[in-house]
C-alpha cells in the first residue's frame, strides 16, 4: 500500500480484490493482437488477457513460453477500454515488475508459461498491481492467497478445449471448503497441515465457507454450456483461452459465452445462444497429452 499526496491509498487489498469483484459474472478472453481484442470487447468481454500465443498453440509449438512483448500489450491497451491482463512466468518477479511498469490491470502468474522458479512463486504483496493465480485444490489456492494473490482461478488444463480438469479442480476446491466448514475447531490445525495451507486462511475459510478472494474458472472452457457448467459449480466468472479464437466463428462464440456466463441458471437462454454456433475448438483427450500444464506450480 502506498500513500499518495492527497492521503488516499493505492494498492490496498480492497482495491485489488475489488477489481476482481467487478469482473464477476463476466468472461475474460485470451487475445493475441489488437484485432482480437476489439472482437472480444465488442462481444462483451469484461477483460482481455494479452498473450503472444493462446495455450493450444503454446502446447503445439513447445519450447519456452515467456511474457509477451510489451509492444503487443501496449497496442492492445490502446485498442480497448476494458481491463487488460497479462501473464508472467511462475516465480519470474522481474517479468511481473515489467508488466506493472506497463500499467497492466491484472497479472496472471500462470502455469501456461514455462515456470522460472521451481520452488517459489512471486511475492505478490509488494506489488500495486493485483495478481490472479491458478489452483487445482484448496491448499494451492490458499498458498497463493498467502503470497498475495487477489483472485484465484481453477486451473483446468489450458489449451485442450476439454473442461474435465476444470470441473475436477472446482469440485475439489468446493469439497475441501465444505470439509473445513463442517470440521470441529480442534480438527482445523490438522486440516491446515494436510492442505499445506496457512492456518489463518484455513480458519477464515472454515468460518465463512468461501475463499477470501473471488474464484473464477479457467482451462478448457470452449462452449456456452461449459461456461454454464462451471458457473453452476461455483465459478464467479470464466477465463476463455483458445476456446474462442480457435473456434469456427470466434465473434459468435464470444457473444454466446458472454450471454451464457450471465444467464447460466437459465437453460433456455443457454440453449438459444448455443444454437447454430459452428464448430467449437477441436480439443484433446487428457490421456493424449504429453505435458500437463496444471502440474506446474507448488
Amino acid at each position: 500500500m502506498t500513500l499518495t499526496s492527497d492521503s488516499s491509498v493505492v494498492g490496498s487489498a480492497r482495491v485489488k480484490r475489488g477489481l476482481a469483484d467487478m469482473l464477476r459474472g463476466g468472461v475474460i478472453m485470451d487475445v493475441v493482437n489488437p484485432e482480437q481484442a476489439k472482437v472480444a470487447e465488442d462481444a462483451g468481454a469484461v477483460a482481455v488477457m494479452a498473450l503472444e500465443r493462446v495455450p493450444s498453440d503454446i502446447r503445439r509449438d513447445g519450447g519456452v513460453a515467456r511474457m509477451s512483448d510489451p509492444q503487443m500489450i501496449q497496442e492492445i491497451q490502446a485498442t480497448v477500454t476494458i481491463p487488460v491482463m497479462a501473464k508472467a512466468r511462475i516465480g519470474h518477479f522481474a517479468e511481473a515488475q515489467i508488466l506493472q511498469a506497463l500499467d497492466v490491470d491484472y497479472i496472471d502468474e500462470s502455469e501456461v508459461l514455462t515456470p522460472a522458479d521451481e520452488d517459489n512463486h512471486i511475492d505478490k504483496w509488494g506489488f500495486t498491481v493485483p495478481f490472479v493465480c491458478g489452483a487445482t485444490n484448496l491448499g494451492e489456492a490458499l498458498r497463493r492467497i498467502g503470497e498475495g494473490a487477489c483472485l484465484i482461478r481453477s486451473k483446468g488444463e489450458a489449451g485442450t478445449g476439454n473442461v474435465v480438469e476444470a470441473v475436477r479442480h472446482l469440485r475439489t476446491i468446493n469439497a475441501q471448503m465444505r470439509r473445513l466448514a463442517s470440521a470441529d475447531e480442534a480438527e482445523l490445525y490438522r486440516l491446515a497441515k494436510d492442505l499445506q495451507a496457512p492456518l489463518p486462511l484455513v480458519l477464515e475459510v472454515a468460518q465463512t465457507g468461501a475463499l477470501p478472494v473471488p474464484m473464477f474458472c479457467a482451462g478448457g472452457i470452449s462452449t456456452p454450456a461449459d461456461a454454464s457448467l462451471v458457473m453452476q459449480l461455483g465459478a464467479q466468472a470464466v477465463f476463455v483461452g483458445s476456446g474462442i479464437f480457435k473456434s469456427e466463428d470466434p465473434d459468435r462464440m464470444a457473444r454466446a459465452i458472454v450471454e451464457a456466463a450471465t444467464h447460466y441458471q437459465d437453460a433456455s437462454v443457454v440453449a438459444k445462444v448455443s444454437t447454430g454456433l459452428g464448430a467449437a475448438m477441436r480439443g484433446f483427450e487428457m490421456a493424449s497429452l504429453e505435458q500437463r500444464l496444471a502440474e506446474r506450480g507448488w
Binding site: 492527497d6 488516499s8 482495491v15 475489488g18 477489481l19 464477476r24 463476466g26 469484461v46 477483460a47 477500454t81
Partner: protein, 194 residues
C-alpha cells in the same frame, strides 16, 4: 419508507455486494435479469462492473428499451461506477458506439482517475451525511455537469475538486463503490428517496 422491492441489475459486476447491503437494511431485494423482473421493481441499483459488458447484456436481454422507458418515467435509480457511466448523458473518449441512458446530465470519462494501479481508497465528505469511505476502482470521472445536477460530494485527486456523488431528481450516480465497504450510508440516502 420503501415501496418494495428494490432491484439490483444482475447482468454482470458486483451484484452480490449491493444485494447484501440492501438486504441488511431490511429491504426486499430482487436480482434483475429479465424484463419481467425489471417491470416489478420500485427502485433499481446498477452495480459496478464493465459498462460495455452491461450495456451489451441490456440489449441481448431485451431490457434496454424498458429500462430507458422506466428511467424516463422517474424510476428511482442508484448507479455506482459502471452504473454511473450508464446513467450519464455522454461518455468522453469512450468507444464510438457506446451508448448511455442520459438520465443524469453529466459527462464522464471512463477510467478517468487512471488504470488499475491508480485505483485508490480515501474518505469522502457527503453533504448531510459526513465522512464515508470511498473506494475508487478504475473509476469514472465526472468532467462536466448541468445545472440540474446536485453535487453531494467531491474529491480532489490533485487536479481540483471533482464530483463523486451526484443526484438529478430520482437518479443518483456515484463514481466510487459504497457497496464494497461497511458503510451503508449511500444506500440509505438512496432508499430514503424511493
Amino acid at each position: 419508507m420503501v415501496a418494495a422491492p428494490i432491484g439490483v441489475l444482475a447482468l454482470q459486476g458486483d451484484v452480490r455486494e449491493h444485494v447484501a447491503v440492501l438486504a441488511g437494511l431490511g429491504v426486499e431485494v430482487v436480482a434483475v435479469r429479465t424484463t419481467q423482473q425489471l417491470s416489478d421493481v420500485a427502485g433499481l441499483v446498477i452495480p459496478g462492473g464493465e459498462s460495455t459488458t452491461i450495456a451489451r447484456l441490456l440489449e441481448t436481454s431485451g431490457m434496454r428499451n424498458l429500462l430507458a422507458e422506466r428511467l424516463r418515467d422517474g424510476l428511482p435509480v442508484l448507479g455506482t461506477c459502471a452504473g454511473l457511466i450508464l446513467l450519464s448523458q455522454s461518455i468522453v473518449d469512450g468507444r464510438d458506439d457506446q451508448w448511455s441512458f442520459g438520465t443524469i446530465e453529466v459527462d464522464v470519462r471512463r477510467n478517468g482517475f487512471g488504470r488499475q494501479i491508480a485505483s485508490f481508497e480515501t474518505t469522502i465528505q457527503v453533504d448531510g451525511v459526513g465522512a464515508v469511505p470511498g473506494v475508487f476502482i478504475r473509476a469514472p470521472k465526472i468532467e462536466s455537469w448541468s445545472a440540474k445536477v446536485s453535487v453531494l460530494a467531491t474529491h480532489d485527486h490533485g487536479t481540483g475538486p471533482t464530483p463523486v456523488l451526484v443526484r438529478q431528481d430520482a437518479a443518483w450516480g456515484c463514481s466510487f463503490h459504497p457497496e464494497l465497504t461497511d458503510s451503508s450510508a449511500i444506500h440509505e440516502l438512496f432508499l430514503a428517496s424511493v
